[in-house]
């Protein structure tokens, strides 16, 4: 509560300041009209370069990848289980399965844990502890992925090998490492969503005689729903796109994982594993894998936008 009121006052102060600055620049602009124009042009130029860069990268990936997809056939490329690029068989079916297996297993534990943590941080923790946890989450987000991978290799894999069996290089190892990596995304976004629920909702619910837990479950979480779904989908996007840590711990066999302890290969791993030595059609096949990933991420982003829009219509924020 304290946190929230503080935020509001800081917010209004910033707004007041902004107004002051604006009126100041307005006064100035009558003297130096051209300087304003210049700044505007520079800003626009930067934005244009940014858009051009995105367009160029997307176009490049498509140009390098699409011809191979059409050559192999879309369904064959996506569903064939045989990946032997140096011998001319290009099917990424096993990697689609691998990506889904690792990502979903990671979400399975990271979503409940992330959500519980964010509820705790906003609703239950004393403000000071909440802030401290916020910094810890930020720290978690700042650790490079190769470090997570290394940790997985040295700690998690021997653990799985000794207590659960198999070689340890497995879907499970990937899911554990990935889960930790997407926790910050899930916690940060769902925490913001929960904190943004108007105080009136909670106060009203408590006034009607609901307990704190009932208010969280029946009022606050439903009101923050669109933000929480966004958090999950963005976490999923991060999990699908993550590469370095996954390559190090999943074993990278091109098979459909038959259990949580079986090794597997994700689409991102496929690209980073083989790009060093790939040439010709093999290289094109890696770009084609990139195209599939690209489309996956675009779809996820669209879903995020739609949920956010739906959330607004729902009247939560």
């Amino acid at each position: 509560m304290n946190n929230r009121t503080q935020e509001i006052t800081v917010g209004t102060m910033d707004a007041a300041k902004l107004l002051a600055i604006r009126s100041f620049t307005r006064k100035n602009s009558t003297l130096g009209f051209n300087r304003d124009k210049l700044v505007e042009t520079i800003l626009m130029l930067n934005a244009a370069i940014f858009i051009l860069a995105i367009a160029a990268i997307s176009l490049f990936i498509l140009i390098r990848g699409l011809p191979l997809i059409f050559k192999v056939g879309i369904t064959d490329f996506l569903l064939q289980l045989e990946w032997n690029p140096t011998a001319g068989s290009f099917g990424i079916g096993t990697m689609l399965a691998g990506t889904l297996a690792v990502t979903l297993t990671a979400l399975l534990w990271a979503v409940p844990m992330g959500l519980a943590t964010s509820i705790f941080m906003v609703e239950l923790a004393p403000p000071r502890i909440g802030t401290l946890m916020g910094s810890l989450v930020e720290l978690l987000a700042g650790i490079p992925s190769v470090v997570y991978g290394f940790f997985g290799l040295i700690v998690i894999i021997p653990f799985i090998r000794n207590y659960l069996g198999g070689s340890g290089l497995s879907v499970l190892a990937g899911a554990i490492v990935l889960g930790v990596m997407i926790l910050p995304t899930i916690i940060n976004i769902s925490r913001d969503a929960i904190a943004a629920v108007p105080l009136d909702y909670k106060v009203g619910s408590l006034a009607l005689g609901a307990s704190h837990y009932q208010s969280i479950r029946r009022v606050i979480l439903p009101a923050a729903r669109s933000g929480i779904i966004t958090a999950i989908i963005l976490g999923m996007g991060r999990a699908i796109g993550e590469t370095m840590a996954v390559v190090m711990v999943t074993g990278n066999s091109t098979i459909i994982p038959h259990s949580i302890l079986s090794p597997t290969r994700t689409m991102t791993s496929n690209i980073v594993l083989e790009m060093g030595y790939a040439s010709g059609d093999h290289q094109a096949a890696l770009f084609a894998t990139g195209v599939v990933l690209f489309i996956f991420i675009v779809i996820l982003n669209l879903v995020v936008n739609l949920t956010l829009k739906a959330g607004k219509n729902y009247g939560a924020n």
Partner: protein, 284 residues
């Protein structure tokens, strides 16, 4: 208001400090280069790119060469044999490093090959493994997925975890050519994409088997005899150890100037001795 102001001030100070440090570091770097430029006759920069198996040798050779020729800067990049070959063709690299024989299509692009050393491929297992020897047929069957238990190779009754390099790797290419007899490696195998990763996996797991460049061997893994032959420098040179491959430097057309000077140095007694120290097998 006061709080916000102070925070802004702090961040400005921090940013300033950061820039200052960055500037200092950059400045130092430039200083060093400038010093080197005052050296002897040979000067300039060349880039060596390609096989990660050759990279450690190129590093050592370049370091020594730059020591005797302070005006020279040699940049060593990895990327893999295929990338090295492409970079040489495109002119992005002055020298391409390959740890496999060139394919006919690659040969037709006007590249000149210089074999700078030989390398043996060693079959490695965990030091705790009781198996000492493996035959060609058994090895092939292990990688085909037909032999699945160490018992069949005279070891303990436990499943074999097969570790292999990724498709396209020079080491894997050589291994397939020498062992697999045109059959595909089983898709059940664990794939690791560097010599170090294969070694780490085998060193950490008593049921694993893998293959790496002989130069990359250390105490953490146990080397198997192959068809009864010890993988030693002498045995690779005299041809009795069958699993070997060349390390090749490529240039677009005949090497000239600085590039030629460097390759000559690599082939000199001193260069070859350096490579031998690092574990490669000299060509002479």
């Amino acid at each position: 208001m006061e709080y916000v102001k102070r925070r802004r001030l702090t961040s400005f100070v921090l940013l300033g400090l950061l820039l200052l440090i960055a500037g200092l570091v950059a400045g130092c770097g430039r200083q060093e280069v400038a010093d080197k430029m005052d050296g002897q006759q040979l000067r300039g920069t060349i880039t060596v790119a390609g096989s990660t198996s050759v990279q450690p040798f190129s590093d050592v050779l370049a370091e020594e060469f730059m020591k005797t020729h302070p005006g020279v800067q040699i940049d060593i990049q990895g990327g893999g044999s295929s990338q090295g070959i492409q970079a040489t063709v495109s002119g992005a690299a002055d020298i391409g490093a390959s740890s496999r024989e060139l394919k006919p299509k690659e040969k037709s692009q006007g590249l000149v090959e210089t074999t700078i050393a030989l390398d043996g491929i060693a079959i490695i297992v965990n030091p705790s493994n009781s198996v000492n020897d493996i035959t060609l047929d058994d090895l092939r069957n292990v990688y085909l997925g037909n032999i699945k238990n160490w018992k069949e190779l005279g070891g303990k009754d436990s499943p074999i975890t097969v570790v292999c390099r990724e498709a396209g790797s020079g080491t894997r290419g050589a291994f397939e050519e020498l062992i697999m007899n045109k059959q595909n490696v089983s898709n059940q195998v664990i794939i690791q994409n560097s010599t170090g990763a294969v070694k780490t996996t085998v060193a950490g797991y008593e049921k694993a088997i893998g293959f790496v460049s002989m130069a990359g061997i250390d105490q953490d893994v146990k080397i198997l005899k192959f068809d009864g032959v010890e993988p030693s420098v002498a045995n690779v040179k005299n041809g009795s150890y069958k699993m070997s491959r060349p390390f090749i430097y490529l240039t677009k057309g005949e090497a000239q100037g600085l590039t030629k000077a460097f390759i000559d140095f690599v082939l000199s007694d001193k260069g070859q001795a350096l490579m031998q120290e690092e574990g490669a097998i000299t060509v002479k």
